[in-house]
């Protein structure tokens, strides 16, 4: 296995605001380029885009160490990139190319890069929660002061794993930060029809601090998650945050979106774009420079990914057991 260093150039920008903006920009453009690839028929498997939700991932991951762990879900490109995944290898994965992280066999929902502290996207809604608790337990036993951050959707909050994880993490004071990304829909169903009450309020019954945060404000997310991470590192136990955001794209690329009015989408896009908000504090020239850098990085990444051979039949049988 090739050893891996964070391969987003944007991760190296020193200024906090600029770096976070750059990461948001990177994710936004990554997803847009992927959507183009999808429209062109080049994407293998389903595609859950995170357009509009970039600030949650960036705000949450920006302050993490490489040795901190992130557990993602079925909509996880933004989490991967925010934790330092290489856009080229991620493109390759999703496009079914040999240079992809799992050689293109796993695709968008099954990317894991343990050497980057990225324990994996996941096709099973809610399944990441106990895995994150397990990872936090593992770090604690090893007396590492690293933490685990777990993303899940508001739809996933209906899975039994949320309660089990909150209870266990609270009892054991695990170094765990749970970030519910409330993008207002689970597949084709609005949150009002599948979430009773509020997700963040479920923390209290387990003696866990819970808090709501504006998921489209990268600085707000960074500060809320930062406080939770600091508490977790200090042995203060878990936190549940609910980042309110909005899914700009359909549930999957190609979704006809009959279940919501176009005006609702438009309002979020026009009035609450996390990219626009992250750009505001920057001067236009340096923001433009970032945009150009991002564009170049992604162009190279996509070209590299597409230059790789499609995943072949021969790769299917690999990696089922240690001996294979």
């Amino acid at each position: 296995m090739a050893s891996e260093t964070p391969t987003n150039h944007v991760s190296n920008i020193a200024d906090d605001l600029a770096r976070r903006y750059a990461k948001i920009r990177l994710i936004r453009r990554f997803e847009e380029l992927l959507r183009e690839q999808h429209e062109a028929g080049s994407v293998r498997g389903p595609l859950h885009l995170a357009l509009g939700q970039e600030a949650v991932a960036v705000g949450a991951c920006d302050g993490l160490r490489p040795s901190d762990q992130v557990v993602s879900n079925h909509r996880g490109h933004h989490h991967c990139l925010a934790k330092g995944a290489s856009p080229g290898r991620l493109f390759a994965e999703i496009l079914g190319r040999r240079d992809g992280y799992t050689r293109g066999r796993g695709g968008s929902m099954h990317v894991a890069v343990p050497e980057l502290g990225l324990l994996g996207t996941n096709g099973i809604v809610g399944a990441g929660l106990p895995i994150a608790a397990g990872a936090a337990f593992g770090l604690a036993v090893q007396e590492r002061d690293d933490v685990v951050l777990c993303f899940f959707g508001e739809g996933a909050s209906s899975e039994g794993t949320l309660g089990e994880t909150l209870n266990l993490a609270s009892l054991w004071k695990l170094p765990l930060v749970l970030v519910c990304e409330n993008n207002q829909y689970a597949e084709l169903t609005p949150a009002s029809q599948h979430v009773a009450g509020r997700v963040w309020m479920r923390a209290e019954g387990y003696d866990v601090p819970g808090e709501e945060v504006d998921g489209n404000d990268v600085e707000a997310v960074a500060s809320a998650v930062g406080a939770a991470v600091a508490r977790a590192r200090d042995g203060g136990g878990p936190t549940l945050l609910e980042a309110v955001t909005y899914r700009w794209a359909g549930h999957y690329a190609g979704d006809p979106e009959r279940y919501r009015p176009a005006e609702e989408v438009q309002e979020w896009v026009e009035l609450r774009d996390p990219l626009v908000r992250a750009r505001e504090p920057l001067d236009a020239a340096s923001a433009d420079a970032i945009d150009r850098d991002v564009e170049r990085e992604l162009e190279d990444a996509l070209a590299l990914a597409l230059a790789g051979a499609p995943t072949a039949d021969a790769e299917l049988a690999l990696d089922h057991y240690g001996s294979s």
């Binding site: 498997g45 079914g96 899975e159």
Partner: protein, 330 residues
């Protein structure tokens, strides 16, 4: 199966939809719950129009809670409904196994004979391009559970008739719909109440030389293989068990006693799959008739990759089936 009745050409999902409509019309106790089954009409259209037709009380979208979803089936059946529970992908039954296996399948035993008419509908197989956590064919697990009936239709006519029978059964049924077949077309008898009995296998093609048992979408491939083999002078009998638990062993054994040769084909990985039970039962009960080693054709013991093309490459082709049949007559 030939019939003189008129037929209509329907897609698999349409046939299922008709079965649901007819049974919900017939019996007000029939209700349907699942993720995106109501407003959206199902990810693949199977439940389209039901919410409008039968109202919100009887057709409900649920939160993403597979265990509770299955429990809804158990509890509501226990008080007199005939619920149909849709668990979107077969793989997601891993979250509902307690309710299906420990609760539903044992209810009659624990109540000394009370019915529990619940149908768990789910979708199996590669072909939706969803990868290793959304593509499995786990039917063998459920066939190992006393108290469950397991059904896997191979085409629209059987799909409709078997689903209607499943809804009317007084015991829990796992009804498996194959993703790759949902848009396939087939003739469906144009009769008032098209029922296909549970527990009865169907000889899809009579033949003399080799018995080829095929499951789900492998029935079509088996028929294609049989056609190819007929050209070489090999007469293949294609048998579709349709119900996997209870297996119609009588029909399977009758066929093997005639042909002396057995090949089983399915999409699930070979080891510990349904093919194992069929081969074992034949080697136990029709050994003297067997003139060649039994053969199993199925996926290798690996996970399902994400792309549709790769997933297709992983599972056996018509050529693989032809080769297996030929191996038995060499």
């Amino acid at each position: 199966m030939s019939t003189t009745a008129a037929v209509r050409s329907l897609k698999f999902w349409q046939a299922l939809n008709e079965a649901l409509v007819e049974e919900m019309e017939r019996d007000a106790a029939v209700v349907l719950v699942g993720q995106d089954v109501a407003a959206a009409g199902g990810t693949y259209g199977v439940t389209r129009g039901l919410a409008t037709r039968f109202g919100e009380a009887r057709v409900r979208d649920t939160p993403i809670s597979e265990a509770a979803l299955a429990g809804l089936g158990v509890g509501s059946a226990a008080v007199g409904l005939r619920p149909i529970v849709e668990i979107m992908f077969f793989d997601f039954t891993t979250l509902a196994m307690d309710q299906i296996v420990q609760q539903a399948a044992k209810f009659r035993y624990f109540t000394s004979g009370r019915p529990l008419p619940v149908v768990f509908r789910t979708m199996c197989g590669a072909g939706a391009g969803m990868g290793a956590q959304h593509s499995q064919s786990l039917e063998a697990w459920f066939c190992h559970v006393p108290g469950l009936t397991v059904v896997m239709p191979s085409g629209p006519a059987d799909a409709k008739g078997l689903l209607k029978s499943a809804i009317r059964l007084d015991d829990p049924v796992l009804f498996i719909e194959t993703a790759a077949l949902l848009t396939a077309r087939g003739d469906v008898p144009d009769v008032d109440d098209h029922l296909v009995p549970l527990g009865v296998a169907d000889v899809k093609l009579p033949g003399e030389d080799v018995t080829l048992v095929a499951l789900g979408r492998y029935v079509d491939r088996a028929l294609a293989a049989a056609e190819q083999l007929a050209g070489d002078g090999v007469s293949v009998e294609v048998v579709d068990p349709r119900t996997l638990q209870p297996l119609d062993l009588a029909t399977l054994l009758r066929s093997v006693r005639k042909t002396g040769r057995l090949v089983v084909a399915h999409e699930a990985p070979v080891p510990f799959g349904v093919g194992a039970e069929i081969c074992a039962a034949v080697a136990e009960q029709a050994f003297d008739a067997l003139r060649a080693p039994v053969r199993r054709v199925g996926a290798p013991f690996t996970h399902v990759p994400v792309s549709q093309e790769l997933a297709e490459l992983r599972v056996p082709s018509v050529d693989d089936i032809v080769a297996a049949v030929q191996a038995t007559i060499r």
